[in-house]
Amino acid sequence: MDSSYSNKRFAEDIGVKFPLLSDWKRKAVKDYGVYNEASGYGMRATFVVDKDGIIKHIEEGRTAIDPTGAYQACNLFDKKKAN
């Protein structure tokens, strides 16, 4: 929901290596059901999606700030690959 420009500054400041995407029009937050009509902002949430486009893990609210759940879900992919 932040602009691409704000995201660029943020990415530079914290040195992220993954794509930082802007949902300026609030379409993705609505499509993913994490848009708060009352505040006009999205909620913090993490979705892990596999290569087939299927949702494998959802983390919402305060716990979404902690990447542990998403990290564990990603580990499941690695384990599947190893088997």
């Binding site: 300026w24 499509d31 979705f47 892990v48 999606v49 596999d50 486009g53 949702i55 959802i58």
Partner: protein, 84 residues
């Protein structure tokens, strides 16, 4: 007659007092409940909705760009630049 008027006044006074008492004794109403934050309608095992979003270089990135190639972690990190 006087006695009757006196008792009417007394009755009115009692009614007025009880109305006042009701006003002062009634506990304050609990503050209006904040609406619950939205929960996603999506479920594990469902297809993730397609998105087309812009990266920091102005390039469009779609979920379908990664189909068959990479797993995707989509983190909605709202108001990222606010330090919140």
């Amino acid at each position: 007659m006087i006695k009757r008027s006196a008792s009417l006044v007394l009755l009115l006074a009692i009614l007025a007092l009880s109305a006042f008492a009701q006003q002062t004794i009634t506990p304050p109403q609990a503050p209006a409940q904040q609406p619950a934050p939205p929960k996603t309608h999506l479920k594990v095992g469902q297809a993730a909705p397609e998105f087309v979003l812009t990266d920091t270089e102005g390039k469009e990135v779609k979920l379908s760009d990664f189909k068959g190639k990479k797993n995707v972690v989509l983190a909605f990190y709202v108001l990222a630049f606010t330090g919140g």
